[in-house]
């Protein structure tokens, strides 16, 4: 199954605006994407509360996974979102 390991770039973690952007983008993908910490149970990336409940903070690594037609493109888009520092662009 295609996977991406990605380090969280936003200083507030996967929370607030970064989490909203991520969950909205996950909902637009043609495939179901899961997100979680390496070796732990992953959650549905389209579930805002599940994503928030990960409590994933700045600098942590997350694993994104998906399967099927378009999985690689979906993972690339979502991984880029997680790696970006949305808090910095907001304050600039």
């Amino acid at each position: 199954m295609p996977e991406r390991n990605v380090v969280i770039g936003s200083s507030s973690g996967l929370h607030a605006r970064p989490a909203s952007l991520f969950v909205q983008a996950a909902g637009r993908q043609p495939v179901a994407v899961t997100v979680g910490r390496p070796g732990e149970r992953a959650v549905d990336a389209r579930s805002m509360l599940s994503v928030l409940a990960l409590g994933a903070k700045h600098g942590e690594t997350l694993v994104l996974a998906a399967e099927g037609e378009g999985a690689d493109a979906a993972l690339d888009e979502l991984a880029a979102l997680v790696a970006a520092d949305h808090d910095a662009t907001e304050s600039a």
């Binding site: 989490a19 579930s47 509360l49 928030l52 409940a53 409590g55 700045h58």
Partner: protein, 556 residues
């Protein structure tokens, strides 16, 4: 018919009149109802329909909003629309619970996980509680709690505002705020100051105000008048117009009418506030809170991360002063790597500068990062320590800061002992800065977070002003500037009193400065001293404010 005005604590100056719109209270959960097997599909549908209705309502409001409010509403709507939430509610219905209880349980499950994640994540728990109340209200056929939407401008009246409400509130629709609970440092008060809205908090009689009742809110006097006469409304409107015109016309450094300088600065506590803070017409940052770097993490930020954060602030304020407060951990800001979790009374525990004794490396890393960032930018960087109690602490802090190459070092005066010995602090420091919120809490033995003690925490309390006077006089005797950076500095009338007491700079939310600047320009230093004398001589906070407001003649 016009009666006596209701009294509360005025926060956010000015007056406004308009019809009351109340915040609907959260629904009471009825007794659990047995759900028969045959009712399961209908009960499940009711729970799902409630979540959909809440999500759609928030989506509509998000589409009509912009900026931060739109972001917050969108995020709330996404939480309500979360498939995992609906699935959890359905699972609870299948276990035999009725829709309101199933929804309550589903939200409680997610709230517990977020609370365990701590930091920013735990701060979302009130949002979940708000969404739960909305969904439960829908299943019970009650109006959705939270901000009203009467379709015309209104005076918002409620028990108190929740943190989430503050972002959702539309300043184009809300004329003034009146809350039954809350105090001068509550969310309502802080929001009112940022938006420049007249507000009266801690006004328990406001519970009697019904939807649609016309009211006149005076945020300077702290009064709410129901059914005002047309003459009263016209007088207030003319006064407000003069006040706004004066605020808009004023600019530049703070000065009294006779040219005595009172430095006007902004408070800054998070990166997203930086752009607005730097744009504001101010003489720099009077209080740069650095906790945002440390919250919500398992270990302290490294030197490089800190340096970068400070550099952004210093560059934005190149040519102006930035007063950095070193880490103020503990009490309401616990940090796993700096504070003990087992203190019975954290507000009186190892907090502020006291943590530096236990963790000297934390302070040294921070001072080094501030010094290095200061060198590469054009700001005039000062540092100060929070929660100083005795002169020896200030001396040790000053020595360390200077060793890192930071030439201008100060102590915060938040503990009454520090105010009483301000002269000795001034001997070892370059400046003093009074934090009125904590100083009131410790002087009156009144928890800042307790709305029921709001009266004791009123910055107009003469005993608090007496501590300010002693500190300012001690500073002046040693040629040291003495600033005020609590909520007190945001009140234009109180700013005159503080100036009269000898305070040399005022630091507040950026939106508060124009009104403070305009007020200062109307009075000479000697007139400010006279007003300060009236406040000090008063028996209580209400009398102090009333005496000063009457002497100032309603022009502020």
């Amino acid at each position: 018919m016009t009666g006596a005005p209701l009294r509360g604590i005025g926060v956010g100056g000015g007056t406004a009149s308009g019809p009351v719109a109340r915040m609907a209270p959260p629904p009471a959960l009825p007794a659990p109802r047995e759900v028969a097997a045959g009712e399961l599909p209908a009960e499940t549908a009711a729970a799902r329909a409630a979540l959909t209705a809440v999500a759609e309502d928030l989506g509509r409001r998000a589409a009509a909003a912009d900026g931060e409010a739109a972001d917050v509403l969108t995020a709330l709507g996404m939480m309500a629309a979360d498939p995992a939430l609906a699935d959890s509610a359905e699972a609870h219905v299948r276990q035999g619970q009725d829709a309101p209880h199933a929804l309550t349980e589903a939200f409680a499950g997610f709230a517990a996980t977020l609370r365990a994640a701590g930091g920013y994540f735990a701060e979302r728990v009130p949002d979940l509680e708000d969404l739960r109340d909305r969904a439960v209200a829908h299943t019970l056929g009650l109006p959705m709690p939270g901000l009203p939407d009467p379709g015309h401008p209104y005076v918002l009246v409620g028990a108190d505002l929740a943190p989430a409400d503050t972002a959702l509130l539309d300043p184009a629709q809300v004329l003034a705020l009146v809350t039954e609970e809350g105090g001068p440092t509550s969310h309502t008060a802080i929001l009112a100051k940022i938006l420049g809205l007249p507000a009266v908090v801690a006004c328990p009689e406001a519970v009697s105000l019904a939807d649609g009742t016309p009211v006149l809110v005076d945020g300077t006097a702290g009064t709410v008048l129901a059914d005002p006469s047309p003459g009263q409304v016209a007088d207030a409107a003319a006064r407000e117009e003069r006040r706004r015109r004066a605020a808009a016309a004023s600019s530049g450094p703070g000065r009294t009418a006779d040219g005595h300088p009172v430095r006007l600065m902004v408070n800054l506590g998070a990166p997203h506030e930086l752009a607005a803070a730097a744009r504001a017409d101010s003489e720099g940052v009077g209080l740069f809170r650095t906790e945002f770097l440390y919250l919500d993490r398992a270990s302290a930020p490294g030197a490089e991360e800190q340096r970068e954060a400070y550099r952004q602030v210093f560059e934005a304020f190149a040519g102006r002063r930035v007063v950095v407060r070193t880490l103020d951990a503990g009490a309401d800001k616990p940090l796993p790597f700096a504070t003990a979790a087992d203190e019975p009374n954290p507000a009186l525990g190892v907090r502020g500068l006291r943590t530096a004794v236990r963790h000297p490396g934390l302070l040294d890393t921070q001072l080094a990062a501030v010094a290095e960032a200061a060198r590469s930018t054009g700001a005039d960087v000062w540092v100060m320590a929070p929660m100083v109690s005795v002169p020896a602490e200030a001396r040790a802090f000053a020595e360390r800061a200077r060793a890192h190459g930071l030439p201008t070092v100060g102590a915060m005066v938040e503990v009454p002992a520090a105010a009483l010995r301000a002269g000795q602090l001034a001997e070892v420091c370059d400046f003093l800065s009074i934090g009125t919120n904590d100083l009131a809490q410790y002087a009156f033995a009144a928890d800042r977070m307790l709305g029921s003690l709001a009266e004791l925490l009123d910055p107009w309390q003469p005993a608090l002003l007496e501590l300010v006077r002693q500190t300012a006089e001690a500073g002046a005797a040693h040629g040291r500037p003495v600033g005020v950076c609590g909520e007190a500095a945001a009140d234009p009338l109180l700013a005159l009193v503080l100036t009269g007491l000898g305070v040399t700079s005022l630091s507040a939310a950026p939106g508060c400065l124009p009104a403070v600047r305009a007020a200062l320009a109307t009075r000479t230093l000697q007139e400010c001293r006279t007003l300060a004398g009236l406040a000090l001589a008063a028996p209580d906070a209400v009398a102090a404010r009333t005496a000063v407001a009457e002497a100032a003649g309603g022009t502020v």
